[in-house]
Chain length 431, copies 2
């Protein structure tokens, strides 16, 4: 029996999983390697962080998704290096050879070189990040209830969100609902609606990649929700009980015990590993600068997709780190492999073309902004579109049902039943 | 205004929460103190440990449950001591005075004096316990898939459950379904149905507190599920890759990488604290030996309920550590306070009387045993009764709906979508 073409995919996020599924009918052996046993629907991670959904509702076991795809195996493992010459991926307990390697290991949040801020300002990329953020948010209200010093109480009730991209805007909207509605009757001493929610953004408007009129309507919606929008403002320091900001040349220190990080991202460390091994350049965020066909220069057998790839061959600016880009690149990676197998050898392939299907973000209850190639709108209709698109795109059918039940319930009752404070040491009020 | 009677309740489990709710119309001020911000429906914790349900599905925020109960406040806090003479509960950041104290801090699992076994054999009392156990179970299959040595693979596929009470029996049944059905098509190298599931029990039958014929039908159901039931067998050692057992004078070492602990419990450390402060005796498990009215001798203002209480005034043997006992004792504690307030002073009160409403346990899919005061039955009808009773008793209505959806889905598809391997270091195959 002839040995089949071996495809190894690193990472089971949107890009890697799409590539694997796209190859289901091709005469190749696929090995999907991830450190996690599940695919995570990251666009809803902020709902875990704010107690609306449980982690399992937005996750689907990779083995379950791929169980009937006979040409594919899943390995739970961590890649410790790549032997580019020998075409082998190194795992802790052995090597996996490849003919084509698809690298889709994504990005983590980053602190613009200030890694020490991480201890005070949790980001939001993994399930653990989300449960930590959830714990920080709900512990802050508990701590405020127990605080006798008014200044300290105020610091516990001040929430600073850094970054007003979709995640930051969505976090701010959810926090406003928590403060004004969910916790309305929960406390006896504090009034949760007195919480201050600050949304800090270095650019001159919220949702900077969107059209200016959508940014403006998002800002108006946020202000109706009592969120203080601070654009043109840079964060220059974060510590245990404050965030330092700079705006128009003036520096200010804001007392807060809860800083939520929704700003920078940094590509997975495999970017650096591959750059060193192949001589491929990386950008400041650690992303590999890929060829028009998403391969590395001189290495047509290595395809890089998703948040790890800096693809700037369309419009001059790198494509954004969103699910749509990763999904389309995953499909494209599969199509390169298919075409090469049919052609019998590695051959030039037409460049990757991103088709922007649009962007959306929710801003609390019954409000959202939607940007399609041919239409922009905001408000209730945008929110319904957001609900519909997100529900449809959750991977497992059961999860669609569970998410729908929980959304309907939260909408009617304002309750967030998944607001558990968990962790090995669940009650360190001094955090 | 006259100062109202101050009731402080330590612990928001079945006993403490029932006591708090029972006092909702009484002219008292209630303070419920818990280290957690949620009430946990422990009887379904094994379903979290085996990936059927998410933690939030069996938890309900204490503040949410009590938000409209105006005479009650909830404090998130950890009791560091009790000033019995001054009638004050000590918290880290201050004291809370009481007129009546209800202590309902429950129990943890324990290793019969072998605390070092804890590192290898996780127990099942908290949400963190359940997610750790879940991780251990599903990582074991992953590790087996990656193992090239057949003996080591076999050790990864051997699961030893210590203790055949309801939790042990339910874990064994769920593990069998995971091995035979859930993971059926998930792996490419191993056959998960080759997993060995050992249920080790020191008594001469499973479910020892139940009637012998129910134990027998439970054992038959377990054997149909391919569970090896080892009664009359004592565990004398647990380490990283084996469990040592003793049966009929013979000692045997079984290779296994996964030991799940469903055996002993130890009362919360407040038992010892109160024993030292009041001279009240404690039993070997650390439970306080209470008076017929659940108070401590010489301290009618301290009521101890639930797993922390050793109540042996009815039938001579201590009541079992089950939800029903705690709930009835919580109601009784509230009624003592009410009667005393109406009587104007502390007065003798009729003894607590436990009404045994019955016991039940599931043994995998569509099988259970039910023991009512006037009837015993097993099989499908028992399973339906089990489902019904558990669904009805879950605290929040939304959770009933979510659990029902997930049970129906698992029943139809064998899927366990909550089988996430999570934790700060999610992939240490050497555990």
């Amino acid at each position: 029996m002839e040995k089949r073409h071996q495809v190894v995919i690193l990472g089971g996020g949107f890009g890697g999983l799409t590539a694997a599924r796209s190859l289901r009918r091709d005469p190749v052996d696929v090995t999907l390697i991830d450190r996690r046993n599940f695919h995570l629907f990251q666009p809803l991670l902020y709902q875990v962080a704010t107690g609306s959904l449980s982690p399992a509702n937005i996750a689907a076991p990779l083995r379950e998704i791929l169980k009937h795809q006979k040409n594919t195996r899943v390995l739970l493992g961590e890649c410790s290096g790549i032997d580019v010459g020998g075409r082998r991926v190194r795992l802790k307990d052995g090597d996996v050879p490849y003919d084509t390697l698809i690298v889709a290991t994504g990005a983590r949040h980053s602190y613009f070189g200030h890694d020490d801020w991480g201890a005070f300002a949790p980001g939001l990329k993994t399930v653990e990040d989300a449960t930590l953020m959830r714990r920080r948010i709900f512990l802050a209200f508990e701590a405020a209830e127990r605080e006798s010093d008014p200044d300290k109480e105020r610091a516990w009730l001040t929430f600073a969100i850094v970054g007003a991209g979709p995640t930051g805007v969505e976090l701010a909207g959810a926090l406003s609902e928590i403060a004004h509605d969910t916790l309305k009757h929960d406390f006896r001493r504090i009034d949760p609606s007195q919480a201050r929610i600050l949304l800090i953004e270095a650019a001159d408007r919220v949702l900077p990649p969107y059209a200016p009129d959508l940014s403006a309507s998002a800002a108006r919606a946020l202000e109706r929700l009592d969120v203080r929008v601070m654009t043109g403002t840079t964060v220059t320091g974060v510590d245990d009980d404050s965030v330092t900001i700079q705006a128009g040349g003036r520096t200010e220190v804001l007392s807060t015990r809860t800083v939520l990080w929704a700003a920078g991202v940094r590509a997975s460390s495999l970017g650096k590993v591959l750059a060193d091994a192949t001589g491929c350049p990386i950008d400041r965020s650690g992303r590999l600068i890929v060829e028009p066909d998403l391969t590395l220069k001189g290495h047509p057998e290595i395809v890089v997709i998703g948040d790890l790839a800096n693809f700037a061959h369309q419009g001059g600016r790198p494509l954004p780190g969103v699910a749509q880009v990763a999904i389309q690149q995953g499909r494209y990676a599969a199509s390169i492999i298919r075409a090469r197998l049919q052609g019998g050898s590695v051959r030039p392939f037409s460049a990757f073309q991103y088709r922007d299907r649009g962007n959306m973000a929710t801003i609390g209850r019954a409000a959202a902004v939607v940007e399609l190639p041919w239409l922009r709108f905001s408000g209730l209709m945008a929110w319904l579109a957001w609900l519909f698109v997100h529900l449809l795109n959750i991977v497992a059918f059961q999860n669609r049902l569970l998410v729908l039940v929980q959304w309907a319930w939260s909408y009617l009752t304002f309750n967030r039943s998944a607001r558990l404070i968990t962790g090995d040491n669940p009650f360190p009020l001094d955090l």
